[in-house]
Symmetry: C2
Subunit: 241 residues, 2 copies
């Protein structure tokens, strides 16, 4: 792949690692930059154990001819809260990718949504750069932008604020007009009740853009519990005057 | 344009209004969905007075053959804080667009970034839908995702939160690990000082993706004042242990 090496002097004979945001599921939400990075890459890397179980890997297949014939490498990224284990996982992933970079291969690492929001890729990118390789991040459409577009509910307007958090560990900060809560499924009922008390309306979407997508359109529809990929959009009720 | 009318029974003989997020400036950050909506539209609508002064209008030109030959309609959206004036502006914009929809034309209204974040399009979409027309929103890459990718700084990780606000009217809420401040230029110095006091590091980018882009890479580089399209990314300093 042609690269502009003038921008970056380090290890210019090595390949470049592209962290490619592939959006939340619909291949139409790939950017042109993502399509071009995937087309030009020598190697596709994706989080997961096999092509078949990787959502990120599946997304470009419909829109990039010849995609499934490209060499593709699964990168296992098991979830854990143990910081030492996490570091070992990220170092192992970086080492796997650097083998190809040293071999002068450009690698496109596919990541769901946008690599800048709650993505494991950020740690891998940091490690690979620290090891002296060139990396580039290609932004993607986030799940919350896609869901807001689908529901035709703007996320934030005028002089409002929006706070984005996960629903796993934190208390809600309701000092904002708008809230986006990712991974809201496990504590859905608890979050729903907190939001109601604080005067918010809300909707929840599970497995957005997938075949088994579910939409809970009002706060009262939200159940006690849902799957991991559940996202809530909440808005403080306006007092009509 | 072929449309799936089974989804939506209202006024199916009329055209559809597509609110198309065109990203922050680089045409490579258009999504495939945006490209297809623009290609298939009968009319391009864009915010501004003329094609020449509209950034949103300029973005697709390099990547969509024949784009500049399509009929294109400027929609004037002057800024004001007067709510009555704003309503009149949005109603006038909606009426302009509805003329084409009644004429069975599909219209692609181009909007910088993502229509769900701080976009005037949200008001127009709501009005046009309330008037009984079909609309569809196509999400776009936000300026903050593009800037974070370029700076290779993740916006939010792990169990952190991120708060997004404008820098015009509000005090900073520093009860978050990460802050994104749009339109930070006018109060840049004041925001910088508040962030420093609260223990944040920060960077500011002005006119991201444009020819006159400027990057202030550290908090101490940020000047007292900058242009309207200035965005700050701020992160709470971690106490290293």
């Amino acid at each position: 792949m042609e690269k502009d090496f003038e921008k970056n002097g380090i290890n210019e004979n090595y390949g470049c690692l592209f962290g490619v945001g592939v959006g939340p599921g619909d291949p139409e939400l790939l950017t042109l930059a993502a399509v071009h990075a995937i087309e030009n890459a020598d190697i596709i890397a994706f989080p997961g154990k096999t092509k078949e179980d990787s959502t990120a890997y599946s997304i470009p297949a419909k829109v990039i001819p010849g995609y499934t014939e490209k060499p593709a490498v699964p990168i296992e990224l098991p979830m854990t809260k143990n910081q030492d284990e996490l570091r070992t996982i990220h170092e192992k992933a970086a080492a796997q990718l650097e083998k190809y970079l040293r071999d002068e291969k450009d690698v496109a690492f596919l990541t769901l949504g946008d690599p800048s929001f709650y993505s494991t890729y950020a740690y891998i990118d940091e490690k690979v750069r620290a090891d002296g390789f060139e990396t580039e991040i290609i932004p993607g459409i986030t799940s919350f932008s896609a869901i807001a577009a689908k529901l035709q509910v703007p996320i934030v307007l005028g002089s409002e604020t929006v706070k984005i958090q996960t629903g796993l560990d934190r208390n809600l900060d309701t000092d904002t007009e708008n809230l986006i809560i990712l991974k809201a499924g496990r504590n859905a009922g608890k979050i729903r009740d907190q939001l109601k008390t604080a005067g918010f309306k809300a909707a929840m979407v599970c497995n957005a853009g997938m075949k088994d997508e579910k939409i809970y359109a009002t706060i009262d529809d939200i159940p006690e519990m849902e799957g991991y990929f559940s996202l809530m959009l909440a808005k403080k009720q306006r007092v009509e005057g």
